[in-house]
């Protein structure tokens, strides 16, 4: 699992690559926390999941934890480019009701600006 974080127009773009599972959530959490600590002014985030081909309940839990942390700080979090298999996990766990999911990063960015 690799996590690439950039800042575009005040919005944190978090690009994840690889499976987000129990084996990789710790790495995801650490890398995200490390970037967030250096960019304290970024409140809104877009998570680009186009390269996440698989996700289990631990991976989903880590996204929910990230959402909780971000909203506690007054920010917002959008998901973009959810692939077919992770989307199925979102569907069966009803996580689609918790997250705002967009087809493209640009759409998610637009929504995050509002």
């Amino acid at each position: 699992m690799s996590v690439a974080c950039t800042k575009e127009q005040g919005i944190g773009i978090v690009t994840l690559s690889g499976p987000l599972t129990a084996a990789t959530v710790e790495a995801f959490r650490e890398q995200l926390a490390a970037w967030q600590s250096g960019e304290a002014d970024v409140k809104n985030f877009v998570f680009d999941l186009s390269a996440v081909d698989f996700m289990d309940s631990a991976g989903l839990g880590s996204l929910i934890a990230a959402l909780k942390r971000i909203t506690e700080r007054g920010g917002d979090m959008k998901l973009a480019c959810l692939q077919k298999k992770p989307r199925m996990v979102f569907e069966i766990t009803r996580a689609y009701k918790v997250f705002e999911i967009y087809d493209t990063v640009e759409e998610a960015q637009k929504a995050a600006k509002k």
């Binding site: 129990a22 698989f54 289990d56 309940s57 631990a58 077919k84 298999k85 199925m88 996990v89 569907e91 069966i92 766990t93 009803r94």
Partner: protein
């Protein structure tokens, strides 16, 4: 006339569904194979030969000797690479008085105007071709049978019933009241199920009970009152549904399925031996063990996360062997540890006349009868001595000796009394000294027996044992009251 049903040669599209025998895949409320057998019954064919392929034991377990249909069913086995006509050609004279052959993923779909009289027109002869070979064949003509056995092809003189593929022959399905539907992919399988459960279930015999229009509920299905069953739906046998779950509309749930609480299942097929985790929403999917399949494009998500969906297959030979070793060794330890305590405490109980052991005739491992000593107190009022006796689980000491003799398990299900009826599924019956009812306060013994049969493992045994031994020690008053209520002299 004799019937030959070929159950080998798994279709490629069924691979995504895992290791379920394809002839036992559900169509509506029943397995595909049962529809084939129903045709035999309706046509008066009582001598059936089933050619087995992979998963032979499951097909055999399902059909038995055919007595439940009033038929005589025998079995043969051929390798997956062998052609079923090789089997037919071994003894061609055997089919001289007529042959009914079914050998593809063929669903005999009843039309709205179906009648058994119409169906019997098939006895005049007919065939269904699929992808260049004969998927269904019936004839009394030795010439036609001979050609079919030699070439696998239908005889030109035969009428061909072919609603799917289209051939030069025409024999309209309405003549025999059946559309022979060859299931050609996973989308077709899904849509066929949805159509049958939605509109056509009343055309067939359904298993179990049909409490209201469009709902078929199998045997031994446990649903708490808070569960919503919204027709049309079909639920197979031996299923357990957790509280506040919603099943339907348009849900096909096969046998031995556990649906945990607060789940919503609609527009979906849940294949047998599947556990669906708590609070999940399954809509427009096929779930098979730990696989979730999107029937529209065949995308298969395999989840290695038993909290979501998982296989509850009873085929755990290695695990069961491991459990047996653990069960025996831990029982021996308990016997050694408890022996002196049991001897002294029980001697005092007997001297004071506080209670004694009474033999109960129960079903043991493999459905064999066993006498299990059960402690009964002489007074409903719990006393200090009895609380020690129950709290230290000394009342189970004599049963531990039965574990050492290999008659029951250490952890498993509450043993069933012989007078409560025979054990219908010995492979899912694990009579034991300790069960979920010893480990947790509010349990439903029947539901938990089923749950244990599906999810048994060494870890589950350890969990039961830990909870049972400690719960009985910590909540000794509750335990002693419960034991005395259930087994007072």
């Amino acid at each position: 006339m004799k019937a030959v049903l070929y159950t080998g040669g798994k279709p490629l599209w069924a691979d995504v569904l895992g290791d379920h025998p394809w002839v036992l895949l559900p169509i509506g409320s029943r397995q595909l194979l049962s529809y084939w057998i129903e045709i035999c019954v309706d046509l008066g064919v009582t001598d059936i030969q089933i050619i087995l392929g992979q998963d032979a034991e499951y097909v055999e377990m399902f059909c038995g000797n055919g007595a439940k249909w009033g038929l005589s069913i025998n079995y043969s086995f051929i390798h997956a690479e062998d052609d079923p006509k090789t089997y037919l050609s071994r003894d061609p004279d055997r089919w001289n008085d007529g042959l009914l052959y079914i050998g593809d993923v063929l669903f005999p779909r009843r039309r709205a105007d179906f009648s058994k009289e119409k169906l019997r027109r098939l006895l005049e002869g007919g065939c269904v071709c699929h992808e260049g070979h004969c998927a269904f064949f019936i004839s009394r003509s030795s010439e036609a049978i001979g050609k079919f056995i030699r070439t696998g092809q239908c005889c030109g003189d035969l009428l061909c019933i072919d609603p799917c593929i289209g051939t030069n022959f025409s024999y309209p399905p309405d003549a025999c009241g059946i559309d022979f539907t060859c299931i050609c992919d996973i989308t077709h399988f899904y849509r066929l199920n949805m159509e049958v459960v939605r509109d056509e279930m009343s055309r067939y015999l359904t298993s179990g009970y049909s409490p209201s229009g469009g709902a078929s509920i199998g045997y031994n299905v446990i649903t708490p009152p808070s569960v919503s069953l919204i027709p049309p739906l079909a639920i197979g046998n031996d299923c357990r549904v957790g509280a506040i779950a919603v099943i339907g509309p348009n849900a096909v749930v096969s046998d031995h399925v556990l649906i945990d609480r607060q789940c919503e299942i609609s527009e979906s097929i849940i294949l047998s031996d599947t556990y669906v985790g708590r609070n999940l929403e399954i809509k427009g999917k096929i779930v098979s063990g730990n696989r979730i399949i999107d029937p529209e494009d065949g995308t298969c998500l395999e989840i290695e996360d038993p909290w979501l969906v998982s296989q509850t297959n009873p085929r755990h030979y290695f695990r069961d062997a491991l459990r047996a070793v653990f069960s025996w060794e831990f029982s021996l330890l308990l016997v050694i540890f408890q022996f002196i305590h049991f001897f002294f405490v029980y001697s005092i109980i007997r001297l004071l006349g506080k209670g004694r052991f009474v033999d109960r005739n129960c079903w043991g491992i493999d459905g064999k009868e066993v006498n299990l000593p059960h402690f009964v107190a002489s007074s409903p009022m719990p006393c200090f001595l009895l609380m020690i006796f129950y709290g230290a689980s000394l009342d189970r000491f004599p049963q531990l000796l039965n574990v050492l003799k290999g008659k029951i398990w250490l952890c498993g299900q509450v043993p069933k009394a012989v007078n409560s009826g025979v054990i219908k599924e010995p492979k899912r019956y694990f009579p034991a000294v300790f069960s979920y009812s010893d480990a947790f306060i509010e349990v439903d013994k029947q539901m938990d027996a089923l749950y244990y049969a599906h999810t048994r493992s060494l870890a589950a045994d350890l969990r039961i044992l830990r909870h049972a031994l400690f719960a009985r020690l910590i909540e000794v008053e509750r335990v002693s009251e419960a034991e005395q209520e259930s087994a007072c002299l």
